[in-house]
Symmetry: C2
Subunit: 110 residues, 2 copies
C-alpha cells in the first residue's frame, strides 16, 4: 500500500486497536497486522512517536511493566481518547463518503 496514504489515519488506527484492551507498542504493531490480514506493516519509527504524541495530547496513558525480564510500556485509552475515537470513526465515514463519492461519480452513473 502506498506509504503515506495512512497520513491522518494513524491516530484512528492506534486508538481503535487500544479500545479492546491495553497493549504495548510492539503488540500494537502485531495487532494491526493481524486485523488487516497482513496489509498493515507499520514500522516502529511510526508507531512509537505516534503513541507518545497521543499520550502528550491526553488520548492515551501509559505504564511501565516488566514481563519475562523485558520492559514494556503499556498504553491504554483515556476517557478523552474514547471520545476522540468516536470522532475519528465519524470523520472516517465522512471522509470515505466524500472521496468515494467523487471517485465513483464517473465510474457508476452514465
Amino acid at each position: 500500500m502506498n506509504p503515506d496514504v495512512l497520513r491522518g489515519h494513524m491516530d484512528a488506527l492506534l486508538l481503535s486497536v487500544l479500545e479492546r484492551e491495553p497493549l504495548h507498542g510492539y503488540a500494537i504493531i502485531e495487532a494491526l497486522q493481524e486485523r488487516s490480514g497482513g496489509a498493515l506493516n507499520v514500522p516502529t519509527g511510526t508507531v512509537y512517536p505516534a503513541l507518545r504524541r497521543l499520550e502528550r495530547i491526553g488520548y492515551l496513558a501509559s505504564e511501565w511493566a516488566t514481563v519475562g525480564g523485558r520492559k514494556r510500556r503499556t498504553y491504554r485509552l483515556t476517557d478523552a481518547g474514547k471520545k476522540q475515537l468516536e470522532g475519528e470513526r465519524s470523520a472516517w465515514r465522512e471522509f470515505t463518503n466524500v472521496i468515494g463519492g467523487v471517485l465513483r461519480a464517473n465510474a457508476v452513473s452514465r
Copy 2:
C-alpha cells in the same frame, strides 16, 4: 475535514474529475466542490502544483486557451492517466477495506 487527510488521494481526485471532460485548474476546484457537496475546498496552492506534477509524470497533458480575454490551461487525461485512474480506484477500495476493517473491528462484533 482534517486538512492533510487528503494526502495521497489528491491524484485520484484530480484524475477522476478529468475523466469526464478536460478542464482547467479553476474549474477543477469548482467541480470537486460540487461533486463533494461542498465538503472539498481544495486551495489553489494545492491544485496547481499537483496538476503540474501529474503532467510531468505523464498522466495529464495540457494546452493553453484564451476565453474572454482570460488565459486558461486546460488539462486532459492521457492514456497513461486513464490507466492510472483505474489503479487509483482499486487502491482506494483496498485502502478503505483495510482501514475500515480495523476501525470496525471493535465497534461491530462483540
